[in-house]
């Protein structure tokens, strides 16, 4: 079987769940080959192997790790030419999509972003399912030129273990650089995000989000407490971020982050179209709002017309007692 290249996301020496999802999809299409930027520790190799990476290619050149976009694209383009994969899969993060876009230009190949499913089509080729316009429309698309470059939205598939012993190779960018190096922007310092122990918003299985009804920055502690009880991430509506109650980076919606968790709990969020565009593909939606006419109830699998300041403490206590 032909290779499928997967750009793995390794941060702080651990492999992110979106990368495991990519490996699971890659196995449907061919032989998964993981590309790791930086050094792959034995833990990383073991984890990638556990989820089916039959080969791992790593590159730790400073030129690659410190450049924005350009270096990784050069590496991937060269691997495409040496390994002739049937597809290149990346996570649908902002960085993943940028790399996918540049690679598509470099290779003059089709790029499909925000896939929620990828299948090998009858009679050859790969069909990608995308959820567009904030989840209101489902699209099937395929690439018609070059190697398909696909970015996958987190929480789209359940990672499946398929243990193998990966063959690890280390490459240097100079092996791959053709002609003059591209001009690139250089990273001079990095400050990783302080997660507060919570999962990332886009990859969390549970997202608890607060809106105007939360009422103040201080009251967001209640939203955080519920998220922590469920092991989830905290999001916010635009009304809440515009009011300065919670950081803009947590804004779920048309102009912010798109999430598709197993469970989304909307607290004091009316559910304007701008917000729905970022969360309506969540598998299960629970909404708590004082206003029985709030459009969020059109989406809710379970809705409570009530005061979140009363309902949330009871819900948190109930979750804690059932967990213990």
């Amino acid at each position: 079987m032909a290779d499928v290249l997967v750009l793995a996301d390794v941060a702080d020496g651990s492999v992110g769940k979106p990368s495991l999802e990519l490996l699971t999809l890659a196995a449907r299409l061919g032989t998964p080959v993981a590309v790791v930027i930086g050094v792959a520790s034995s833990d990383v190799v073991e984890k990638l192997g556990q989820f089916g990476a039959s080969a791992i290619v790593t590159c730790d050149d400073a030129e690659l790790t410190s450049s924005v976009g350009a270096g990784v694209v050069t590496l991937l383009a060269s691997l495409v030419s040496s390994r002739s994969p049937v597809a290149v899969l990346l996570a649908s993060s902002a960085e993943g999509k940028e790399i996918a876009g540049r690679l598509a230009v470099r290779l003059d190949a089709g790029v499909l972003t925000d896939a929620v499913d990828v299948v090998a089509a009858d009679g050859g080729g790969i069909v990608v399912e995308q959820s567009v316009f904030g989840g209101s429309t489902v699209v099937h698309a395929r690439s018609t030129r070059g190697v398909p470059i696909i970015t996958l939205r987190p929480n789209s598939v359940t990672p499946v273990e398929a243990p193998v012993s990966p063959e690890v190779s280390v490459v240097t960018i100079s092996q791959y650089a053709e002609g003059a190096a591209p001009r690139y922007a250089k990273v001079v310092s990095r400050a990783p995000v302080a997660s507060g122990g919570r999962p990332g918003l886009t990859e969390a299985a549970v997202v608890v989000a607060g809106g105007r009804g939360v009422g103040s920055a201080e009251n967001f502690a209640l939203v955080e407490e519920l998220a922590d009880a469920l092991g989830g991430a905290v999001g916010a509506s635009r009304a809440a971020t515009d009011a300065g109650w919670y950081p803009h980076t947590t804004q779920v919606g048309q102009t912010g982050v798109t999430v598709a968790p197993q469970l989304y709990i909307a607290c004091g969020i009316s559910g304007a179209i701008q917000h729905r565009a970022g969360m309506q593909t969540a598998k299960t939606i629970v909404a708590i709002n004082k206003d029985a006419e709030a459009p969020i109830f059109e989406l809710a699998d379970f809705g409570v017309v009530g005061d979140l300041h009363v309902v949330l403490p009871q819900l948190i206590a109930e979750i804690r007692s059932r967990q213990s």
Partner: protein, 260 residues
């Protein structure tokens, strides 16, 4: 310094969007077209850089149908100096590869030290065009900026992603994309609205840019939509009014759904 700010006409953020069943492209007739809100941050950032650097010019660029001229007018009323509109019937249905090709040719045609874009469009939401432009132009990609500064010919950007923040440096010319809320876009003043009427707007065709019409548009796209369906509304909804036990009821529901 010559700054090119790219803008896109999109369906109003607060409208329902849909695909045209005939060719699976965006149905532009289904909603009002407006300047993409995320691009207004790019225009504002370009204007601020112009105001803090002598002898600077802001050129606002769009590719789109004739109606997209409205987005250019909006940017001119905000304070941009010139507008460039790439319009050609052959562009209908262009994918990201073709769009980036046309924009790159137009940017080279116009001349630039810095290109500024929004972080993504609110309709397609691919978030690839800025990176594609850096690749096509062969210049540094300083994208997803929460802060932009220029010191001589050195560009400094605070790049913000889900992974954290990074301080990034590059030599001009370069491509920047800016995040929502990097600034507060100004409202056009009466003076700005009046002044916009006399600012130059250039219309460019594919021929003007030396692009073969066969290289763009729906027929040249490297990806094709096979089918599309509008998602049906959710069924089986339960809505209750809190009688003092709603917290317990939600917990019961979560247990039923095997979420707890």
């Amino acid at each position: 310094m010559r700054i090119v700010a790219c803008v896109k006409q999109v369906p109003d953020t607060f409208s329902e969007k849909r695909l045209d069943p005939a060719d699976q492209t965006l149905d532009r007739g289904a909603a009002d077209g407006v300047i993409d809100e995320l691009d207004t941050y790019a225009v504002e950032e370009a204007l601020r850089l112009k105001e803090s650097h002598e002898d600077s010019t802001v050129v606002v660029l769009t590719m789109g149908p004739a109606s997209a001229a409205d987005t250019l007018r909006k940017a001119l009323t905000m304070g941009a100096d010139e507008a460039v509109h790439v319009v050609d019937d052959a562009l209908h249905g262009s994918d990201a590869l073709a769009t980036s090709l046309v924009l790159a040719k137009a940017i080279e045609h116009v001349g630039y030290d810095l290109v500024v874009l929004g972080s993504e469009s609110t309709d397609a939401r691919m978030g690839v065009i800025a990176a594609m432009l850096a690749e096509r132009l062969g210049v540094p990609q300083a994208t997803l900026a929460g802060k932009v500064g220029i010191d001589g010919s050195t560009l400094r950007v605070q790049r913000v992603t889900a992974a954290g923040q990074a301080d990034v440096e590059a030599e001009l010319p370069a491509v920047v994309s800016v995040l929502e809320k990097i600034n507060e876009p100004r409202y056009p003043s009466f003076k700005g609205i009046m002044a916009a009427k006399s600012k130059p707007t250039t219309t460019l065709s594919l021929a003007d840019l030396g692009i073969d019409p066969a290289a763009v548009g729906l027929a040249a796209a490297a990806t094709v939509v096979v089918d599309s369906t509008v998602r049906p509304p959710r069924g089986d909804r339960t809505i209750v009014t809190d009688d003092g036990s709603a917290g317990v009821q939600i917990a019961d529901f979560l247990v039923d759904q095997k979420l707890l």
